[in-house]
């Protein structure tokens, strides 16, 4: 009798497992799974949709064109976060249970929440040019990657560009630089660096926080800007905050060529909303814009023209779409490197970490993958998970973004010691922070 009960229990367990199995993504032997945490709904969808399209399209194009990476298909699945930290953590847990190779939070708030989990769960976190700047320190954060640049690099790049306009760093003394930002983890991230630089170079930093609920109601912040008369305005905006800020700046007649956004404030729709008044608005960038790249053309032929992509054909090649493509390039290249390093074709998330830590996308490789000139050559290693790579300034001409500078390096000499100190501080305030146990495979 007892045996019967055990058999019945085992049968029930087997049955429930059988029922549970189909909920996992269908994966063949020669496939790997990547979850993309995206947001196609909510107040940040304007920025989230093009990035999500770009990421999914590049990976799906590799599946269509090459059968994946070295014959291993990439099973892509999106998880909607709505840019909400709690939902993002739920997506992370789901990604973990489904065996994702890597987690892309696409939100600094979510990144900060999953950083302590990543080393425990052994899932690498790829926060491409966002998240915790100090995570560039590979010895402290072996499971977190933020190439090609950190927010602190971005802040230093903007200050460098302003200094260039003024004729040298010494001319920053006495200047007033306004900083308008989304009052969240994302917008607050570069403040320590900007304050440090204000101290070092003698400029005044005036802060204008924009609460999340007031993104489309920035009249007060811009009235303050009008009264304070800063020489330059720097912006860390996202979602609906960007087009509103551009419109408000134009409204108070702020000189737009002195208004410089971070790379996440440079969507076409962000600037387009300002109409004629937005002409001259600048942002940083680290990826190419447009469709004049063979890989983007492949996406067009294989996905867009065949109705397999969600992107509006007119928006193919726009800045944030291409940003998503670049994010997917980093993932695909990391898979390839991990396959080489481990000798396996179907890799695990632990192998993926090795891949992300050994990226080396040089000009020759960019040409091979059909993206010559799309980004500056990029590499990572065990100590350096960002690389502090080159960026450029783009300017809105009323209809499209134009390159307004050559590629230039951030002020790495300034930023790196500060990042090291910030990593130490993170370790102390999150003690006991685990020492790096992962061997270096460089």
């Amino acid at each position: 009798m007892r045996l019967h009960k055990l058999t019945a229990a085992a049968f029930a367990l087997g049955l429930s497992a059988g029922i549970a199995l189909p909920t996992l993504p269908a994966m063949a032997e020669d496939s790997v799974y990547i979850q993309l945490a995206t947001y196609r709904t909510g107040p940040f969808a304007g920025s989230g949709i093009p990035v999500a399209n770009g990421m999914a399209d590049y990976l799906n194009m590799l599946n269509e064109r090459d059968g994946g990476v070295n014959g291993v298909k990439i099973v892509v699945e999106e998880c909607e976060t709505g840019y909400d930290t709690q939902k993002g953590v739920e997506c992370y847990e789901q990604a973990k249970s489904k065996g994702t190779l890597v987690f892309n939070p696409y939100s600094t708030g979510i990144t900060l929440q999953v950083i302590p989990k990543a080393s425990v769960d052994k899932i690498p976190v790829l926060s491409m040019a966002y998240g915790l700047s100090a995570a560039a320190d590979g010895n402290t954060f072996p499971w977190v990657f933020n190439p090609p640049v950190t927010y602190w690099d971005g802040a230093s790049g903007i200050i460098k560009h302003i200094a260039e306009q003024e004729g040298g760093m010494e001319n920053l003394k006495g200047k007033k630089i306004g900083y308008i930002f989304l009052d969240a983890g994302y917008g607050r991230e570069p403040i320590p660096l900007l304050e440090g630089m204000a101290n070092d170079y003698g400029f005044e930093l005036v802060q204008y926080p924009v609460p999340g609920k007031e993104m489309q109601n920035q009249a007060s912040q811009w009235l303050n800007v009008r009264r304070d008369r800063p020489d330059y305005m720097v912006m860390w905006g996202w979602g609906a905050m960007n087009p509103t800020a551009v419109k408000e700046a134009a409204k108070i007649r702020f000189p737009m060529d002195k208004f410089i956004g971070i790379w996440w404030s440079g969507g076409e729709d962000d600037a387009r909303a300002g109409g004629e008044g937005a002409k001259g608005y600048k942002t940083l960038n680290f990826n190419g814009v447009g469709t004049d790249f063979p890989a983007i053309q492949d996406i067009k032929t294989l996905l867009v023209d065949t109705g397999k992509s969600q992107v509006d054909p007119e928006k193919l090649g726009e800045n944030l779409y291409n940003r998503g493509v670049m994010n997917a390039v980093l993932m695909a290249e990391a898979i390839r490197v991990a396959q080489e390093k481990t000798g396996k074709t179907v890799i695990t998330s632990e192998d993926m970490r090795i891949g992300l830590e050994n990226l080396n996308i040089d000009d020759a490789r960019l040409a091979e993958i059909g993206l010559s000139g799309f980004m500056s050559p990029l590499s990572t290693n065990c100590e350096e998970h960002s690389g502090h790579h080159a960026m450029y300034v783009q300017q809105w001409n009323g209809e499209a973004w134009e390159k307004a500078s050559d590629w230039f390096e951030p002020m790495t000499d300034k930023v790196k010691p500060l990042l090291a100190a910030a990593a130490e501080e993170y370790k102390t305030s999150n003690a006991p922070w685990p020492e790096r146990a992962e061997a270096c495979a460089n």
């Binding site: 609460p211 489309q216 912040q221 009264r227 509103t244 419109k247």
Partner: protein
């Protein structure tokens, strides 16, 4: 002493030193107040006639704006799109009355509130399903609304910049309030609405149809939502972020009273101007960003003296 000076004296010195800037702040506050009042009006209309706090008013603003722009994107001329959107808001009102309100007649207020929360989530999902989540640009010029700005020189090099769209918003809001006042006071349906607001049962006993009245107020709230959507959309864009803006109406309602149209207008203006003055002249003392809670502070201070709101009805219940 310095601290007291910075709170009690310095802001007023700034106001006197830069009168053009003060005028600009007052103007921006006035425009914001008009827009808050428009949102609050939508709430008041429905609360007045049915006692329901319509949590869905914010998403109705987004839905109306998206329908207008969405239809235009599909090739419908702007004015036809406007008429069709009014039609869509009418259909929405009928559907809400038939499928949400009618089955819940005589249910406690909290049930009706919950049903409007459900309606909010339905409209978010339905809106995203039909129009997608991407923000859209308002068809300001196509609708014949003015764009651009005019600058007035004031005093010694001072400047007051008026955006034409803001002037239009103020004028349209005033016309809309005037029309609503005439509708409520001079028409038969308006009088019926007021009768329902005063006493449901008494209104029913003299032959007024509750269902018809509810459909009419939801339609009127839909028209107000469409106007608000056009005006806010022209200032930034039409996106689901606008839904949060509707929360700005809450302190306006607390201040003006939930049942008073003049209350919504005066409350909107007090909150709009008050929060701008507060943020600009006192905000920097605490690092800025005080606007979002200052509105509630202003409302609470008024409530200390008038618990029923500025124009709200005093409810005296005998026990």
């Amino acid at each position: 002493m310095d601290f007291l000076y910075s709170i009690l004296i310095d802001p007023f010195v700034q106001m006197v030193e830069l009168p053009d800037f003060l005028l600009q702040v007052l103007w921006e506050g006035f425009v914001a107040g008009v827009l808050y009042a428009l949102i609050a009006l939508g709430f008041v209309l429905i609360f007045k006639a049915s006692g329901v706090f319509n949590f869905a008013q914010g998403i109705m603003v987004v839905f109306a704006g998206l329908t207008l722009v969405g239809l235009h994107e599909k090739g419908v001329p702007a004015y036809l799109a406007l008429i069709l959107t009014i039609g869509v808001m009418g259909l929405l009102a009928l559907a809400v009355e038939r499928f949400v309100m009618r089955p819940l007649v005589n249910q406690p207020d909290i049930i009706l509130l919950m049903s409007t929360i459900g309606l909010t989530y339905f409209l978010i999902g339905f809106g995203e399903f039909i129009f997608g989540g991407e923000p859209k640009q308002m068809i300001t010029e196509e609708l014949g609304l003015p764009t651009g700005s005019t600058a007035f020189e004031i005093g010694d090099g001072g400047l007051l910049i008026l955006q034409h769209i803001d002037v239009a918003a103020a004028v349209i809001a005033i016309i809309m309030v005037g029309m609503l006042a005439i509708f409520f006071n001079k028409t038969r349906i308006g009088r019926a609405l007021r009768a329902v607001a005063d006493d449901h049962q008494a209104a029913l006993s003299v032959g007024i149809s509750l269902n018809q009245i509810w459909a009419i107020v939801w339609f009127a709230a839909g028209i107000v939502a469409l106007t608000t959507g056009i005006m806010w959309g022209a200032r930034s864009d039409v996106s689901f972020a606008l839904e949060i803006i509707a929360l700005k109406a809450l302190p306006v309602l607390i201040l003006g009273g939930f049942t008073s149209i003049p209350g919504a207008i005066v409350g909107g203006l007090i909150i709009g101007i008050g929060e701008k003055i507060g943020e600009i002249y006192w905000g920097p003392l605490v690092g800025g960003g005080i606007e979002s809670w200052l509105a509630y502070m202003i409302a609470l201070i008024f409530l200390l003296f008038r618990p029923q709101g500025l124009f709200g009805e005093r409810i005296i219940e005998r026990v």
